[in-house]
Amino acid sequence: MATATDTASTTATHHADESVGMSYLDRLPRRLVVIYLPLAVFVFVLLFPFYWMTVTALKPNVELTNFTDYSPFWPQNPTLRHIQYLLFETSYPGWLWNTMLVAIGSTILSLVASVFAAYAIERVRFQGSRWVGLGIFLAYLVPPSILFIPLAVMVFRLGIYDTRLALIFTYPTFLIPFCTWLLMGYFRSIPYELEECALVDGASRWQILTRILLPLSVPGLISAGIFAFTLSWNEFIYALTFIQSSENKTVPVGVLTELVRGDVYEWGALMAGALLGSLPVVLLYSFFVDYYVSSMTGAVKE
């Protein structure tokens, strides 16, 4: 207990926002123990699974289960065999394509609907707009795990069971509330005076939205867009429930249900599948880290 408390309190000492704060009062050995050591442990634990995923994907099958002759931490004879198997002997490329289509489709659909809704709530200020805003927030809190059964029934009745359309139509249930909430916050940060000028000059609401507000909101739109894309790329329970045939599956569902056959686990191929399936979102994330972080913290802070 003593160590945990001590560390927490010491690290709370200085808030190096822009200024130096009081950190110059700390000596290096102390910083080493209370800051760098815990940080190293955190980073190691948080990143090790990804390292392990990569290493396993590159190991030949012999090295996977033989820890006595080969070091488990490094592939002695790295091979692309698993990735080759994945890309040319399974339906994996098709799953990637499906996931991409579904994620892009549902993101565009949600963004369009959310821009209009956020504009109406935040700027048209109709009667009861505050309650609609609250309703949007509550809609975001409805988890997919309590919606998937009735949605499965609906998807079946609508005749879109086992199609990509089923996912494109159901993902906006959590994307629209999220994007609307995020864009409401963004629109609020844009000075209203700009729109008043345009209103005085005789612009219509539509013109204000498309010519003034949207060009100014590009960063907000990017944030909402990449976040929505990531959320739909990662979605699992709807894709697992609504999709039956192998050629319509998304990456998470396909890897889990098709690459595991009976008792034979193709660990190399499984890891390669996990690695390749994570790559698109990780790349997107690495290009837009700041947008990503701002949308995550923004959605919470409002």
Binding site: H14, G21, M53, F116, V300
Partner: protein, 315 residues
């Protein structure tokens, strides 16, 4: 919609009927709200109601059911597996949320320090949250393998244990394992959002307190925590909600086993409804989650209100 809004007057002096309509707030608002509203009513509100209705019927896959009243709930009431899943869910949520909060806050405080490569560290720390849960869970599945686990191997090399740990085969081990995996995935979210809050606390408050002779622990208790508490309420509400309704991790790692020791309400609901075909019963389990979720939301909502008022903030 576009036509009505884009309609322009022929002469500025006499606004046409169409233009006055286009300028009326109510109609404009309705038109703008329409796409989102239709979507959410059809695919969110209606299914929510349908789910409650299904819970009162004996619907199965391929056969529409009839109203059976509380029969599903009565059978769940006497179903020990259901109660086990409730216990598991509460345990999973409580332990995981506390750990996520503690470790996340700790990581946030560390990241708030002056560090070399801070932006880079912050970016890679968030990775567990960005990567699809199912795919990272598959990596954990291999890390927790009964025979070839790298953790067991390392501990055996260090001489700490003599035989491999049975991570997912033993009920209590499995519970601990899935909870820790959930914590692994949740720490970055808590840490990064709390870090954003920490950065808004002015260093001068800490300097003033230090001059007055406050110890580091006192400053943490009386400055950092109160300034952060509104954000903590929101972050933890989200965290509790998503932990309580978790499905993916369990489905990948254990599918509820061994001996239903890790079945959460969400996974039990899926198992009964989709592979089991009992849509009515599955829906009833899902509906049984709603009271817990509502109480979590209300708890944090009222906690939040009080804090804002304490700080003299608006709303």
């Amino acid at each position: 919609m576009a036509d009505a809004v884009l309609a322009r007057p022929a002469a500025p002096a006499a606004p046409s009927w169409g233009e006055r309509l286009a300028q009326s707030r109510g109609l404009v608002a309705v038109l703008f709200m329409l796409p989102a509203a239709i979507f959410l009513f059809v695919f969110l509100t209606y299914p929510l109601g349908l789910g409650v209705w299904l819970g009162f019927t004996d619907t199965r896959i391929g056969r529409s059911g009839v109203f059976v009243g509380l029969e599903n709930y009565e059978s769940l009431w006497n179903d020990s597996i259901f109660w086990l899943s409730v216990f598991n869910t509460v345990l999973y949520t409580t332990v995981a949320s506390i750990l996520k909060f503690g470790l996340g806050l700790w990581l946030a405080l560390i990241l708030n320090e002056r560090l070399p490569f801070k932006a880079f560290i912050r970016a890679i720390v968030l990775l567990p949250w960005v990567v699809p849960t199912v795919l990272s869970a598959i990596a954990f599945w291999w890390i927790y393998d009964a025979q070839f686990s790298v953790i067991s191997w390392s501990l055996m090399k260090l001489g700490l244990i003599s035989s491999p740990i049975n991570f997912l085969g033993d009920p209590n081990n499995a519970r601990a394992t899935v909870i820790l995996t959930n914590v692994w995935r949740g720490i970055p979210f808590v840490a990064i959002t709390l870090l954003a809050g920490l950065q808004t606390i002015s260093p001068s408050l800490h300097e003033a307190a230090t001059l007055d002779g406050a110890t580091p622990w006192q400053r943490f208790r009386s400055i950092t925590l109160p300034m952060l508490s509104p954000l903590i309420a929101v972050v933890m509400t989200f965290s509790v909600l998503f932990t309580f309704t978790d499905f993916q991790l369990i489905y990948v790692l254990t599918r509820g086993g061994p001996l239903n020791a890790t079945h959460l309400m969400a996974t039990l609901s899926f198992q009964r409804a989709i592979p089991g075909g009992q849509l009515g019963e599955g829906a009833a389990i899902a509906v049984a989650m709603i009271p817990f979720l509502l109480s979590a939301i209300l708890f944090s909502y009222f906690g939040l209100q009080r804090r804002r008022w304490q700080q003299g903030g608006t709303d």
